[in-house]
């Protein structure tokens, strides 16, 4: 079950970060922050590799003993990071990909909102939608 979702802007500051067990939030914030280094590494590796590896989904960034961290980067260099509970081993790659796709669609909708200024923190009804995505991912 996804425990934390974060949207990070091109300049590496968070646009939206939300975790489900609301105590201990700082630990997840820290985990997302450290995962940014891995994301940057993967992006630069992708640029240098001559293989046609130009996917948006980055895959498993790094596993810890309790959690696994997945990453996804868009064409506008906005990064999505998701922290998933390790105990739920039934979550397959496809499901993670579909969750990221839903996230990307919601982010595109936020961007198209004329009242939203790009670069601001995301505060709209997005939060409810995201919580629903997180909760629904628990059914696996």
């Amino acid at each position: 079950m996804a425990v934390c979702v974060a949207v990070i802007a091109k300049e590496n500051y968070p646009l939206y970060i939300r975790s489900i067990p609301t105590e201990n939030e700082l630990k997840f914030h820290y985990m997302v922050h450290t995962s940014l280094d891995v994301v940057d590494e993967k992006i630069s590796a992708m640029g240098k590799a001559l293989v046609d590896q130009r996917e948006l989904y980055l895959g498993l960034l790094y596993p810890t003993e309790d959690y696994k961290v997945y990453g996804y980067v868009t064409n506008s260099k906005v990064k999505f990071v998701m922290v998933v509970d390790s105990s739920n081993t039934a979550l397959r790659d496809n499901e993670i990909r579909s969750m990221f796709r839903k996230l990307h669609n919601s982010y595109t909708d936020v961007m198209c909102n004329p009242f939203y200024n790009p670069g601001d923190r995301i505060q709209s009804r997005w939060t409810k939608r995201m919580l629903r995505v997180l909760a629904s991912s628990g059914h696996s």
Partner: protein, 174 residues
């Protein structure tokens, strides 16, 4: 389907509204209106830059981004592709210090031989002075899309004879 017509009508109204406000069309007032149009185009371009390349893989280089503009963006907004894309790289050497490399400033010229927003106006040289108003929004659109895709640029438009027009995109290397 009436989709292209809707955008054309909206755009014509936008230009008409901004110019109707100005009782004394001096150079100052005109400039603000052009800036406003360009700003609107910029915001729309930012949103389109997020929505359109959704399923495409990451762009490997600048030329890919420009090709995306000519094909996908133009088709999405104007229902036709850009007619030609030319590069016009100029090598600039501001200060000749030993050890510096000459940094080429990327310039691209996008040409559209029958720009949909100008096609209804006239064909030939008539109304050439009115043409820039109708191009400001599109310049902003290009600039906004480029900025979401990570490229800082300056876009200007020029019209030699309606309805053909050229958009010059100068990529600013930071």
């Amino acid at each position: 389907m009436a989709d292209p017509a809707l955008f054309e009508f909206l755009h014509t109204e936008m230009v008409a509204e901004l110019w109707a406000q100005d009782p004394d069309p001096g150079p100052g007032g005109q400039k603000t209106s052009l800036l406003v149009l360009e700003g609107m185009g910029f915001r729309v371009g930012q949103a389109l830059g997020e929505r359109l390349p959704r399923e495409t893989l990451t762009f490997r280089e600048e030329l890919d981004i420009l090709k995306f503009l000519c094909k996908d963006l133009w088709v999405a907004v104007f229902h036709k592709q850009m007619d030609s894309l030319r590069t016009n790289h100029q090598v600039q050497a501001p200060l000749r210090l030993p050890g510096t490399l000459l940094c080429p400033q990327g310039t691209y010229v996008l040409q559209d031989n029958s720009f949909p927003l100008l096609v209804r106006m006239a064909s030939g040289l008539q109304y050439l002075e009115e043409a820039p108003k109708f191009l400001a929004f599109t310049c902003g659109l290009l600039r906004g899309t480029l900025s979401t895709l990570g490229v800082k640029s300056l876009v200007t438009a020029s019209v030699a004879a309606l309805p053909a027009c050229k958009f010059q995109v100068v990529i600013q290397k930071l």
